[in-house]
């Protein structure tokens, strides 16, 4: 391998995406029209704000048309110590976008010697989504949620995006994907200001449960295989994924409640 050397005008600075373009490795190229092809899609993700930060959750199912293509996809991914991304949409480009986003954050931090601010990261993700617009027009839509703990103001923040890269900061909660409607209804009814992390985990699990109950593309808790949604909290102590053991208990309570309706 050779060092990637650039002239002053061509230097990509701390932008990893630009660096990839300069060396001809950019993943944002034109896709052929794939809207007729069944490619795996990932579905419902939610994020809510609580007293200590944010809680994010995503189901594990990926579907190709009416088939389940993966049962254990991880749609909620840690971006860095204090933020996470959740993605809905075409699985391939979405995973690539998350990988690139993680690398961009780390690359920036190493080149510049200090980490990006939370808002800077949210803005960076919006550029990735915008770069994906041509592919989105071809049917490869990727719609992420970005959430994290902002240590400058000492609270959790969350953003959702549209396919054009539009970035919208939400104050309370956000849901994305095919089960968005069902999940956000649950959140809208039950969300309260300054919830504890434990209550927030219970609420996002309930939102995902209702979404999976009504939307075939959203996976519910798979007790048979021991596959539970990915739920994570982000507070001043960092990104913590909730263990499957704890989630099993949360979902047991939810399903018992449903049985007694």
């Amino acid at each position: 391998m050779k060092f990637p050397l650039f002239s002053i005008e061509q230097d990509p600075g701390s932008n990893f995406g630009e660096l990839l373009k300069r060396v001809g490795l950019s993943p944002f190229s034109n896709y052929a029209n794939v809207s007729q092809v069944d490619i795996p899609h990932a579905t419902t993700c939610v994020a809510i704000r609580c007293a200590d930060g944010v809680v994010m959750a995503g189901d594990r199912r990926a579907t190709s048309g009416n088939l389940i293509s993966h049962r254990s996809m991880e749609k909620v991914v840690q971006a860095d110590d204090f933020s996470g991304v959740a993605i809905a949409g075409a699985a391939g480009p979405a995973m690539e976008m998350v990988k690139l986003f993680q690398l961009q954050i780390e690359h920036y931090e190493k080149v510049e010697g200090q980490p990006l601010s939370l808002e800077g990261k949210a803005n960076q993700l919006s550029m990735f989504v915008r770069n994906n617009l041509p592919a989105a027009m071809q049917g490869l839509m990727v719609v992420p949620i970005f959430a994290g703990y902002d240590d400058q103001i000492g609270q959790g923040r969350l953003w959702d995006y549209d396919a054009t890269g539009g970035r919208y900061e939400e104050l309370d909660f956000v849901a994305t994907g095919s089960g968005q409607l069902h999940a956000s209804t649950v959140l809208r009814v039950s969300w309260r200001k300054d919830m504890s992390v434990a209550d927030a985990i219970e609420l996002v699990s309930r939102a995902l449960w209702e979404a999976s109950d009504a939307d075939s593309a959203t996976g519910g808790p798979d007790v048979l295989r021991g596959i539970y949604p990915v739920v994570a909290s982000i507070t001043k102590n960092g990104f913590t994924r909730v263990s499957d053991f704890d989630l099993a208990a949360v979902f047991a309570t939810i399903t018992t409640g449903v049985q007694q309706r």
């Binding site: 391998m1 060092f3 990637p4 050397l5 490795l25 990988k99 690139l100 690398l103 690359h107 190493k110």
Partner: protein, 225 residues
């Protein structure tokens, strides 16, 4: 037509080496040592913002002495090269040896072909999953690569610092001990360096993905107490 002066190649190389050595000697030195939990890099650096040590990749650190703008440029090249390689292949494929070779190629090329050689010496350290896999590379201003097992001293007064470290160094010392050895070795007889004069960075073998960690001035003061 004017005739260029003939300069013997030996003389030309010697002049360049002298020039580079002089530039490096103007700056302050640094020491990288293995300790019981990884590798510690201790640099004399009164600046709290212009760093001599930095993170290149998960297990790889960089440190440079000499002209700041030159080694900082090399640092950024290293980060780019490592991140590209990790993106293209896998995070496990990024290693210190190939990075050290890349640096050696470039610094050597500059030494022989450019008007001015780089006035820098750098070190590349990689902390292994097990202590036996630790790697320390010292790359000189002319592209010479040296592979060390226990510790590296780079900078102006390297020989005398090296002999001081040599007498005190033992394998598997705790962090506090190696920091103290380095502090004494880097200090002059007139003045003992304090925590504000030092920059300390670690590659910790603690199982997390990113092993690089800076020691804050506060904890450095405690280590030196």
């Amino acid at each position: 037509m004017s005739m260029p002066y003939y300069v013997a190649p030996e003389q030309m190389m010697k002049d360049r080496a002298d020039f580079a050595r002089k530039g490096i000697a103007r700056g302050r030195s640094l020491v990288a040592m293995r300790y019981n939990e990884g590798i510690a890099i201790i640099a004399e650096n009164p600046s709290n913002t212009l760093r001599k040590t930095s993170e290149i990749y998960d297990r790889i650190a960089f440190a440079g002495v000499g002209k700041y703008n030159e080694f900082d440029q090399l640092r950024v090249l290293g980060v780019r090269s490592a991140d590209l390689k990790g993106y293209q292949f896998s995070r496990h494929d990024v290693d210190a040896r190939s990075l050290a070779n890349q640096y050696a190629q470039m610094i050597g090329q500059t030494f022989t072909h450019e008007v001015k050689p780089l006035e820098v010496e750098i070190l590349i350290a990689e902390v292994g999953v097990v202590p036996a896999k630790d790697q320390l590379f010292h790359i000189m201003y002319d592209g010479t690569v040296l592979d060390e097992k226990r510790f590296i001293v780079i900078g102006g007064d390297a020989d005398s610092i090296r002999s001081k470290v040599e007498t005190a160094f033992v394998e598997d010392l705790p962090l506090q001990e190696v920091v103290k050895i380095a502090r004494t070795a880097l200090s002059t007889d007139e003045r003992l360096l304090q925590s504000t004069d030092l920059e300390v960075a670690l590659l910790q073998r603690n199982g997390s993905r990113r092993c690089f960690k800076r020691v804050t001035e506060h904890s450095l003061t405690e280590l030196l107490a």
